[in-house]
């Protein structure tokens, strides 16, 4: 039978997949994958702060990532640099500052590999609570802002003109992004969270002709990736994050055959 830690990892992974599915769709639709990366990189800084101040890691990451998102918005208004340069600037400098800070914290032993790539051994029962309660909250809020967020994703001006307040929905969505990174970092690792957000969604895009279907397939893709990834992580003793993302990649490659078929059918 499976050891306890494996069951915990599985339950955690399932919880994460339910949230990354729908959020990932918006990341792909709104072209935010690099933005997700930036928030995830800044999470390392959150981890160091948590250790230094002996604070809850998920809360600390959530706060740090939200602040980085705010700084980004300010910088976008104040500088003439293009968005991707600003994202790169924030992503790499917060990663660098985080790593330097870890260097100073000699009194604590860090599992850097675990932070970067995820560690199923590290998932505790408390983490499960964080993931499932946090995840449920994220999904609830996403459901509440779905209409304005989706409408403004399709067309900002239509949403604004017809009174849906898209700016507020966008701001809330940014906070949700910080939240999903905060709750999933232990499992997937900060370098690969964006992969978990966009690869199952990319697979879902190949299989869907409408947004609802894409969300459902994206969740299914995430769940399958978690199952396949975790089992192979256990079997081959590979880190959990890369295993899950690699499984998602395999699913994506399979989904390409479906596109080929549809294109052939059309001709």
């Amino acid at each position: 039978m499976f050891d306890d830690f494996f069951i915990r990892a599985l339950v955690a992974g399932i919880g994460i997949a339910f949230v990354t599915g729908p959020l990932g769709c918006f990341v792909v639709w709104r072209r935010l994958s690099y933005f997700g990366d930036t928030l995830a990189h800044s999470a390392l800084l959150g981890v160091t702060i948590a250790y230094t101040l002996e604070f809850n890691i998920a809360v600390s990451i959530f706060i740090t990532s939200s602040i980085i998102a705010l700084i980004l918005v300010k910088l976008e208004k104040k500088t003439n640099l293009p968005g991707d340069a600003l994202l790169g600037l924030l992503a790499h400098s917060s990663l660098a500052v985080g790593l330097v800070a870890i260097g100073f914290l000699t009194f604590i032993r860090f599992d850097i590999m675990g932070l970067l790539f995820g560690d199923i051994l590290a998932v505790t029962t408390d983490d499960l609570l964080t993931i499932w309660i946090g995840g449920a909250l994220i999904l609830l809020v996403l459901k509440l802002i779905w209409k304005p967020l989706f409408a403004s994703t399709v067309n900002y001006e239509l949403a604004e003109a017809e009174g849906l307040n898209p700016d507020r929905a966008k701001a809330i969505f940014t906070i949700l992004m910080a939240a999903i990174i905060a709750i999933s970092i232990k499992m997937v690792g900060l370098l690969l969270i964006t992969g978990m957000l966009i690869i199952p969604t990319a697979m879902a895009r190949n299989l869907s002709d409408n947004p609802q279907k894409m969300v459902v397939f994206s969740i299914i893709g995430g769940l399958l990736s978690v199952f396949i990834g975790l089992f192979s992580s256990l079997e081959f003793n590979t880190p959990s994050g890369p295993s899950i993302v690699a499984a998602a990649l395999v699913l994506f490659i399979f989904s390409l055959f479906k596109i080929k078929q549809t294109i052939q059918l059309k001709n």
């Binding site: 072209r31 399709v154 604004e160 003109a161 017809e162 002709d209």
Partner: protein, 248 residues
């Protein structure tokens, strides 16, 4: 009911500046229930900008906008939809409002595209897409309709039919319509008020007042002039491509 109560949106001396250039300045107009106000003018004269100011899309504006309704249907001039997002006509119809199926079908039938209901939005022709946009805007039974060149790319017979439809809708729903046409030759006679823009309000009034030129009437004939009214006037200045005013 007082006239004030019928006003849906009122623009008072509004202007909008972008990158140091005034796109429009000093525009005042109002749209009332059951009335159609048409904005006409050459390219770059600020018609779409004026509509966006009225809709609240542009926020840092000069002047005042008073809106008395939130039930608005909008057909933008340009709409770019990213195809990373799979979207059927049906999904698009439900974008800003939760509509019942029969209401959705009714609107699509009115604009003649019910058969495209389950098609992907990306597979429509320009004219078909325009009909879907119009169907979406009218389906929520808005109090105010803002139509920015609603019939662009629609075939000629369709164009007339859609204008007839717009007229019918304004009567049926008693909604106010702010209509934009870049086409100086085709403005509906049903229009109650015409505003000619050229970065500023050149002239405004009833179509008859504005359409002084009789040459087109002769060209299209009496019959056509009942559906189409015609407008032409002389400008004392021209606009270069970037919108700068060149005095003649």
């Amino acid at each position: 009911m007082s006239i004030e109560k019928n006003i849906l949106v009122k623009l008072k001396d509004v202007g909008f500046e972008q990158n140091g250039k005034w796109l429009v300045k000093g525009v005042s107009l109002q749209v009332e229930k059951g009335k159609i106000v048409t904005l006409i003018g050459p390219n770059g004269s600020g018609k779409s900008t004026t509509a966006k100011i009225a809709l609240g899309i542009y926020k840092n504006i000069e002047g005042q906008v008073e809106k008395f309704t939130n039930n608005i249907g909008y057909v933008p001039q340009k709409i770019s939809i990213d195809w990373t997002l799979p979207l059927r006509v049906k999904d698009f119809m439900l974008l800003t409002d939760n509509l019942k199926d029969d209401i959705l079908n009714e609107a699509l039938t009115l604009t003649g595209v019910k058969h495209l209901r389950d098609n992907n939005l990306g597979n429509l022709s320009g004219g078909e897409f325009q009909r879907v946009l119009l169907a979406r805007a009218i389906s929520k039974k808005p109090e105010l309709l803002v139509l920015d060149e609603p019939v662009q790319g629609v075939d000629f017979t369709g164009e007339i039919a859609l204008y007839e439809l717009i007229k019918k809708i304004s009567e049926k729903l008693n909604c106010g319509i702010l209509l934009i046409s870049h086409d100086l030759h085709t403005v509906m006679t049903a229009t109650d008020h015409v505003v000619c823009l050229n970065g500023h309000v050149c002239c405004s009034g009833s179509p008859k007042d504005v359409a002084r030129n009789n040459e087109y009437k002769a060209l299209f004939g009496e019959q056509a002039s009942q559906t189409l009214s015609v407008y032409e006037h002389k400008h004392d200045h021209e606009h270069s491509n970037d919108g700068e005013i060149k005095k003649n």
